[in-house]
Amino acid sequence: MTRPKPTAHRSLPAWRRMGGALFRMAATALAGGLLCATMVRFSPGFGLDEKQLDPSLSRETQAAIRRSHDRERNLPRFYAGAIKRMLVGDLGTSVTLGRPIGELFAERAPVTIELMAWGIAGAWSMAALLAIPAAALRSPGLGGFCTVLSGVPAALPAAGMAILLFRLGASPTCTIALVIFPKVYQYLHNLLRQGYAMPHVVLARAKGLRARGIFVRHVLAPARPQLLALAAVSVNMAFGAAIAVEAVSDLPGLGQLAWKAAVARDLPVLVMLTLLVALATQLANFVADMCSPAAGRPA
């Protein structure tokens, strides 16, 4: 058991910090892909091809199909081959849809990105609209009302809420916003409440400083790193919600692709999607880290 050493990474030059963060991001995404590939390799039914049951194929053809699957049984070779192909832009082919995975991603990503962007914006707007007055006024009635309002969507499954709102004629964006909203509200409210309880903020209020000035300079500014981290986590939450919403609303996005690939056990699509999602969430965290005002400050 060793005494914790003082960390010096905050005083490292910006390019080294950025390089380290980029390395961690790539390593995590690759580890996610490798983990998924490992699970795919050992999942039941791996390497079985229904073409092998086709009596019209010659013995040589069937042997060739078997050999092609035998090559995939070596996990490091399978994953190294997938990475190598990925680096030249070939993500493989979907087994069920019979189309290049890269093409499917390019076609579907804009739908999901748009849905997630509007959903996150909606959730943050709703959360800010409720959390700011609830924290600033410190009224138990308003706080209780906001907690109940945010508690209802938090107690419903995302897919159930998607069906309910779909039946009510609401857009899928609303559903994404409502799925993310309770978590954003809860965190934002706690953060702002803590900010308003700081002694210098209490003093500033007692001295009669303008409410807007107090909020912007003394409550919001110190909470910026946490808010940026929450924004990065929102991306993660939004993609999770997009799976349920796109599946229920029949929207041709990446979420629906993930669900269809899961139901049809389209393993190449699942591996590539895991890699893509891990990379996207790591990228969101990286951007939040780099934008954080604490990033460049020495410890």
């Binding site: 058991m1 060793t2 914790p4 995590t28 995404a29 580890a31 996610g32 983990l35 998924c36 699970m39 795919v40 999942s43 039941p44 039914g45 508690g151 209802v152 938090a154 107690a155 419903l156 499954p157 995302a158 897919a159 159930g160 069906i163 309910l164 039946r167 993660n236 939450m237 993609f239 999770g240 919600a241 799976i243 349920a244 599946a247 229920v248 993930a258 669900w259 690939a261 899961a262 139901v263 056990r265 393993l267 699942l270 999607l273 895991t274 999602v277 891990a278 969430t281 790591q282 965290n285």
Partner: protein, 266 residues
């Protein structure tokens, strides 16, 4: 607030009793088909009507409630134990093991929870027997849900490792394993308990999502997830078909309400 918490606990108890003793409210088994009355409306014989196969919705809802209310805490217990083992050892031992565990936790948390569940569920056989599908669904939720709890347990054990009591125990010559077992983990019990209680509603919702997407508990065994499926496919579902969603909302709200002190502290 206290009254609301007592009310929520009472309601939870009533739902649990109804689920454990469904015979008090209905006599029909969950899989019995009343072939002469499929899609029957609400009546005295069928208080929530019947589904498209003529099965009594109320009895299916009660049996489904039993599965969700008993299996979700079991899954939460398993994931809390996993979190205690991984987080406890990582926080207590430190060094390369801690770094390895943190990397694993980061990796698990970098993927959206529902996405992770859907992907891993897809890699397991989909044509399971109904009883086995319960085990696989909740087992999977438990095995994939330990990461966020492990992070908190690790932080708690890390601070306990450097606390006065641990230093005194080390100075007294206690072996590290005993310090972890007798002093560190028992002191981390409030964190573990809070994590267990916070996991139960999350796992109920996870099962409902998986079931609704067709990757959860298999028919004919009812669960809240697969009871919600007809809502997706039916053109204009019967209002009584929304009962499972209302019950999920009620039970999960009550669970959140009963654990509010821990949530507020967190």
């Amino acid at each position: 607030m206290r009254t609301a918490r007592y009310g929520a606990a009472g309601l939870l108890l009533a739902v649990l009793l109804a689920a454990v003793f469904p015979g008090l409210l209905t006599s029909a088994p969950y899989d019995r088909q009343f072939r002469e009355s499929p899609n029957a409306p609400v009546s005295r014989q069928f208080p929530l009507g019947t589904d498209e196969l003529g099965r009594n919705r109320l009895s299916r809802l009660l049996y489904g409630t039993r599965i969700s209310l008993l299996a979700a805490p079991a899954a939460a217990l398993l994931s809390t134990v996993l979190a205690a083992v991984v987080g406890g050892l990582a926080g207590f031992l430190g060094g390369w093991f801690d770094r390895l565990c943190v990397a694993g936790i980061d990796l698990m948390l970098s993927l959206p929870w529902l996405f992770l569940l859907v992907i891993v569920r897809a890699l397991l056989p989909l044509n399971l027997s109904p009883a086995l599908s319960i085990l696989v669904t909740f087992g999977l939720i438990a095995v994939l849900g330990w990461a966020s709890a492990a992070r908190l347990v690790r932080a708690a054990c890390r601070s306990l490792r450097d606390s006065d009591l641990a230093i005194q125990a080390r100075a007294g010559g206690l072996p590290p394993g005993r310090i972890l077992r007798k002093h560190v983990l028992p002191n981390a019990r409030p964190v573990l308990l809070a994590q267990f209680r916070a996991s139960v509603p999350v796992y109920i919702l996870a099962e409902a999502n998986l079931g609704l997407l067709g990757l959860g508990v298999a028919d004919p065994i009812p669960s809240w997830g697969n009871l919600l499926r007809p809502l997706e496919s039916a053109f204009a579902p019967d209002p009584a078909a929304w009962a499972p969603l209302v019950l999920v909302l009620l039970v999960v709200s009550c669970l959140y309400l009963t654990q509010s002190p821990e949530r507020a502290a967190a």
